[in-house]
């Protein structure tokens, strides 16, 4: 069978996570590169890639429910918020205004995911009944209800405009806030966060890849392509729609807890409508329903502003000479990118990548 990478003799092999040696070696190379980057890149770029990895986790979550299971969710930001605040309460430091138990990361990280998943399950009876635009509208309502609750549960969230500090970085009793001494090498906080995010990101990605080929993944696709037909095939709609929401929220919660640990503090106003829509946009730009799409989308979303800044800096264009300020310019271009992708490349960045890959696979032939 050697030298014929596209020949599969059994289903198990075809549906394995890495179907051939090339994929496995590319994956290994990418991981080693990413780990190597930890010691080469400047703090600025390290932070950007850390953020990208964490946003990718949340986007994968949204992709499970919207891309795979086809249930539109405009309230992903709220689930992220629930996870963030759960972790902040469990792992944060108590002050005069907010509660916090200052526990280890080994507790607050799973709790963040589980708290979001539970909220996803609680609203499941409502979300499972609806579909299409009605579901989109209910989740839109959730965004407003969620932000209202976040701003008013002051003992947990610190209240609107004030916010609170999030969970402290402490793993197995070792305080990592000020870095870590490994032998003779000193790991900075940024590097630790980067490596940890990378690890979680890789695990989350493999999780999604695994989900797609599992029984649940096939059920999700069936529901997306036609839920009545799926029900007729014996798929339990309630169970799978609810589990898609729960799983998606779990990813969101984990991502939120880590994301705001990187930045250090969180304010209830962060989880507004625009925040939730950002993730929808990331999934659409990356390519909905694909495994790699959300990763591409997340990196695009985070690195896009950095590239704009780099561009302005390289050509020495001052911010004052622009008609818009930098944040507005980013939002404007982001809106344009969403529109252009939907109109001209509905499969998103993944579609571009797919065509490129197939071009080189068949090279020098054009088919």
């Amino acid at each position: 069978m050697r030298g014929r990478p596209n020949l599969y003799t059994d289903y198990q092999k075809e549906s394995s996570i890495f179907s051939n040696k090339t994929q496995k070696s590319w994956f290994g190379l990418l991981i080693s590169l990413a780990i190597g980057l930890c010691f080469l890149a400047t703090d600025y770029w390290l932070l950007l890639i850390t953020t990208s990895c964490l946003i990718a986790i949340a986007s994968w979550g949204l992709n499970i429910v919207s891309g795979l299971a086809g249930q539109i969710n405009l309230a992903h930001g709220v689930f992220i918020g629930v996870g963030t605040y759960a972790s902040a309460v469990i792992g944060g430091v108590a002050t005069s205004s907010v509660i916090g138990y200052n526990l280890d990361m080994i507790f607050w990280l799973p709790v963040a995911g589980l708290a979001s998943a539970v909220v996803g399950l609680i609203i499941a009876p409502i979300t499972v009944k609806l579909k299409g635009l009605n579901l989109a509208l209910v989740t839109l309502a959730l965004v407003f209800i969620g932000s209202h609750l976040f701003s008013n549960f002051k003992s947990m969230t610190g209240g609107a405009g004030l916010g609170r500090k999030v969970a402290t970085l402490k793993l197995f009793g070792i305080d990592l806030e000020n870095g870590l001494q490994v032998g003779s090498y000193y790991l900075q906080r940024e590097q630790i966060l980067y490596l940890f995010s990378l690890l979680i990101c890789v695990l989350a990605g493999l999780g999604v890849k695994n989900l797609v080929r599992s029984r649940a993944g096939r059920a999700y696709s069936a529901i997306r392509d036609g839920d009545i037909a799926a029900e007729a095939l014996g798929i339990n709609l309630f169970r799978y729609k609810a589990s898609a929401f729960a799983l998606s929220s779990f990813y969101g919660g984990i991502s939120g807890a880590l994301f705001f640990t990187v930045s250090g503090g969180v304010e209830p106003g962060s989880f507004n409508l625009v925040y939730s829509i950002t993730f929808v946009a990331i999934v659409v730009i990356g390519g909905a329903g694909t495994v790699l799409g959300p990763l591409f989308g997340a990196f695009f979303y985070t690195l896009f502003p950095a590239v704009i800044q780099l561009f302005l800096h390289t050509f020495d264009i001052g911010e004052q000479s622009l008609p818009l300020n930098l944040g507005q310019l980013e939002r404007l271009l982001f809106g344009l990118v969403i529109i252009l992708f939907l109109m001209f490349e509905p499969r998103g960045l993944w579609g571009i990548w797919f065509r490129l890959r197939n071009y080189f696979k068949a090279w020098p032939f054009s088919y």
Binding site: S66, A136, A141, N325, L332, L342
Partner: protein, 306 residues
């Protein structure tokens, strides 16, 4: 009693404003099966144009108002022609996200123009006009609220006549009933789509003016008020114009009563809903209605085929 009347007056004026945006939503949905999240952005852009013309350029208010309304309508037409026409036949979700993109685009441009200081709308009657109010038996009624109410009533009447009597109105109804059959009868469906967006833009601009008029002013957050027409549409049913009006009245009155009675009620039950609850209340109602009647109060029930 006076408080009750005061809340009712304010609620009804809000209802009038929401119904303008809501009818725009419904028209677009009926014609194209598209839920346009760009509608609130069109409303605030309309307000922005009016403010720019009347305050910054010093054009007489009435001319500025008419120009602003027409420009916003044309803007809706342009949006439909450039962005939405190529998307005909695409999944509902993609088009909805596309309108979110348009919303982002419009509001970013508007925000950069607004800057930090809120913008005023100008005043048609400098002596008492937008900023004034009349006191009827203890109830404080702003002229702006009266104007909003009557404008909405007049516009809805005009629209009703348009749909019943005019050639294009009937063509629009035919299109929303069955696109292919309408095309077979020689109706230019593309032109109808454009017309729908023109009307939706005009209605949005009026709503935008009343949302931001007087002391309310146009700020970067004005669009949230316009977005509240969305629960109104959902409550009434996405494809029903009377439903949109009823939904708007429910939402407007709720907002009015909550704003005035929340504290009394909270003291009565001993539990606080938190500040800014009047903004969330419409969404809670929408949430509850969608659970029990997923197609809204007046919407047609969806028949599904495998």
């Amino acid at each position: 009693m006076i408080i009750f009347l005061q809340a009712t007056v304010e609620g009804l004026s809000l209802a009038a404003i929401y119904s303008l945006v809501a009818i725009g939503f419904v028209l677009i949905y009926k014609a194209m099966e598209v839920l346009s999240f760009a509608q609130p952005a069109l409303a605030v852009v309309g307000a922005g144009i009016i403010s720019f013309l009347s305050v910054e350029r010093g054009i007489p208010f009435w001319i500025a108002l008419v120009l602003g309304v027409i420009f916003t309508g044309v803007l809706g037409l342009i949006i439909e022609r450039t962005f939405l026409r190529p998307m005909v036949g695409e999944p509902v979700f993609s088009v909805a996200v596309l309108t979110i993109g348009i919303d982002l685009l419009l509001r970013t441009l508007l925000d950069s123009w607004i800057g930090i200081n809120p913008k005023y709308m100008g005043d048609p009657f400098p002596s008492y006009g937008n900023f004034g109010a009349v006191n009827v038996g203890g109830v404080n009624i702003k002229y702006l609220e009266v104007a909003a109410f009557f404008t909405a009533v007049v516009l809805i009447l005009l629209l009703t006549i348009f749909f019943r009597k005019s050639k294009y109105g009937i063509a629009m109804r035919a299109t929303s009933y069955d696109q292919e059959a309408a095309m077979a009868q020689g109706i230019n469906v593309g032109r109808i789509f454009g017309l729908v967006w023109l009307i939706a833009g005009i209605l949005a601009a009026f709503a935008g003016f009343f949302i931001t008029g007087g002391f309310n002013t146009l700020s970067q957050f004005s669009f949230i008020s316009a977005l509240r027409a969305l629960p109104a549409v959902v409550i009434g049913g996405l494809d029903s114009i009377p439903g949109a009006v009823v939904g708007s009245i429910i939402i407007g009155l709720t907002q009015g009563y909550v704003a005035y009675y929340q504290l009394t009620f909270e003291a009565f039950i001993g539990f606080s809903f938190g500040s800014g609850f009047s903004i969330v209340a419409p969404y809670l109602i929408m949430f509850v209605i969608l659970i029990f009647k997923p197609d809204g109060l007046f919407g047609t029930e969806e028949v599904e085929r495998v």
